[in-house]
Symmetry: C2
Subunit: 411 residues, 2 copies
């Protein structure tokens, strides 16, 4: 598998976060010659928050996490790649319970403090018995430098591991936010079609964490799309070990605590970074496309229109073919179903305005527009000329490679 041409140029090493250890092993769930079972374990109970797929056919691990996230406390996260444990009926529920029980026994904690995620093929019964016996060893050998190891072990069709870290100073004390993610296909966020696990040493209650996460997911993970397909397994978990470098810090437990604003901004950075990495690893992606819509009646309408453009196969193939085909952008705006006035529209490729007042720009320069779409990163901007609503989403082009990957992924 060749690495996506859009992969970050430099790899990032994640610093340790006090109280969190990570590890991965080869459990032979589906793949051979690579690690596919991984854990994140917390020395002391961590505060946890999560957002999950809105699919009506959610996987068994998503059901499990949704049920227990309200408890707000985590001792471990267990993730397997190769089998999504989705649409697996009673056997799927059993596999989840077997795994949670084995992890809880190993860590002497309650099953409700174990969070689970599975990614891979849908509909294959998963034999958790085959790997739950390995959890004990995995928890013991996990270490604080295991971030890259776990980021690698949660991959499926991903071509590179996705890691991000951010340092944040709050009231003079330094904190870290580390995150990993996976995702490449079946990516249309609602919530965000992928797995992501984020940990911080900033001491913050699960309620505050949930509030910040829910607030920030819309502009990050929910603003990327690869192929408009929403997974059954989307999961983002954010944990706080609370074990900050400076022990004297009082934990944030109130939504009006102003320290939460700085933390929220830093968390947004990490989430945005990881979300963009997912698009950069979109199946078959050769180009990163940013769609900016403004002048809409409201933000919701702007996002619907931006998504309509970003999900249009004709727009995406045009960019793949380096064709500044803004007519297809017009089509995608028109079909979105939101308020739009053809004769007030303006469209840009990069900084080149190609259309204005409902027709081709009088100064339209085909060569200039072509130069824009030859770049590896292309921005399409749309001014609807109606109001103050705006939205920004990211996607990738639709290429032969997407077809090649998906026409024989399972077989």
């Amino acid at each position: 598998m060749t690495v996506s041409p859009l992969a970050p140029k430099f790899s990032v090493t994640l610093p340790p976060i006090r109280g969190a250890r990570l590890g991965a092993i080869e459990a032979g769930i589906k793949y051979r010659g690579r690690k596919d079972l991984s854990v994140m374990v917390f020395e002391q109970p961590a505060q946890i928050a999560g957002v999950f797929t809105r699919s009506r056919c959610a996987s068994a691990p998503v059901d499990w996490c949704k049920r227990h996230i309200t408890g707000g406390v985590a001792r471990a996260i267990v993730v397997n790649a190769g089998n999504a444990n989705a649409f697996t009926g009673a056997k799927g529920v059993e596999a989840v319970e077997t795994t949670a029980r084995a992890a809880a026994v190993a860590l002497s904690c309650s099953e409700e403090e174990i969070f689970l995620a599975s990614t891979g093929v849908i509909g294959e019964p998963m034999d958790a018995g085959a790997f739950s016996g390995k959890l004990n060893e995995l928890f013991e050998t996990a270490d604080e430098d295991g971030w890259a190891d776990m980021a690698g072990a949660i991959m499926t069709t991903d071509t590179f591991a996705k890691l991000a870290t951010k340092d944040v100073q709050i009231d003079g004390a330094r904190f870290t936010i580390n995150g990993i993610a996976k995702g490449s296909g079946m990516i249309e966020p609602d919530m965000a079609t992928m797995l992501s696990f984020i940990v911080t040493d900033f001491p913050v209650s699960s309620e505050c964490l949930q509030s910040v996460l829910s607030d920030r997911v819309d502009e990050t993970f929910n603003s990327v799309t690869v192929d408009s397909d929403t997974s059954t397994s989307d999961t983002v978990l954010v944990c706080s070990t609370g074990l900050s470098k400076t022990d004297s810090i009082l934990p944030v437990t109130s939504l009006s605590d102003r320290r939460l604003v700085q933390f929220s901004d830093a968390l947004r950075n990490v989430m945005h970074d990881l979300a963009l990495q997912i698009v950069r690893d979109g199946e078959g992606a050769q180009k990163l496309i940013e769609v900016l819509v403004f002048g809409a009646c409201n933000n919701v309408a702007a996002k619907v229109i931006a998504k309509s453009i970003a999900n249009s196969p004709l727009v995406k193939t045009a960019i793949a073919g380096e064709d500044a085909n803004w007519g297809r952008v017009v089509m995608a705006i028109g079909k979105a179903g939101e308020e739009a006035d053809r004769d007030r529209l303006s469209i840009w490729f990069g900084d080149v305005r190609v259309a204005v007042n409902g027709e081709r720009d009088p100064d339209y320069d085909e060569d200039a527009a072509s130069r824009v779409v030859k770049e590896q990163e292309v921005r399409i901007s749309v001014d609807l000329g109606l109001g103050k609503g705006s939205a920004r989403v990211w996607t990738c082009d639709l290429t032969h490679e997407y077809i090649a990957i998906n026409a024989d992924y399972r077989s």
Copy 2:
């Protein structure tokens, strides 16, 4: 351009319809060496009904037709291929007016009796002056056997001309319904992403014609999708010359006239035939996919779910790869946003039940399922187990050829 492997095995010859003549010429609008300007002309004013794209960025000819369809009377339909005259601002309106005026002068009728359609590239200004002078000659040379000629002249990325005819006996008298259509990409019906022109000698008023057309479009043209992209130019026009073979027939002018039921069934046949031909010519199509959803809460929910399956790039690429990947069908049901209960779902590929009660069928037979997806026509059925709503939609697979066609259509 190779003809789609799904093209009808036998070509059909359309019989003449009294009072309708058709013709086409090479006007050099965009293509070279093929006819691209065509007309349908009525000896006596015909009754006309129409349905059009719901795009908020509809083309200038669509705007024109919408404005005049309420008049209910047509003397001619003028169609050009190669330029959609969409998003062309004031120049686009001017081009439409120039064409309508030239046609009206040639036929000594009012401009409101001229209907127009354009298909091709969006956003290129169209020079109607260059071809409106040719309309006079075109009207004169048009003849009653020109159906294939016009069906060929309205094609863009189509690989075969689309024609259908149906004889219908009503109260002992015989009538004919002839239809032609074009469409291959930018096909997601709402109303129906294509052009289609249908003519009958059955004497029926424009009001009754409109009622029958609006009623039948949902289960025909609006139930096919190629790529989920809705065109700016979708147009279906149905005309009655009223010049039946037996002159003594009283025209149908009331919606309660029971003859309308038989006519409606026959019209549905022609519309269904043409709609399926459009899917069979879907860009890059190698397989025809029928998606049947039943047991839904209601018909609307069933259709939303059927469309979600039919538009999923992951489902479409799986079929292209002859992979009976029903997990992706589960995903598409889950993301549709309509009521669904994972544990009541059943899914079939052809007659092979692959999933039942929220998990893989206990008698699942991979070989049997694989044989189904190796066929040229694949049916996917879903029983939601909730209610009595059902819907049926048709689509095609998503192949390398779709990418090849769309990554350099305009350039």
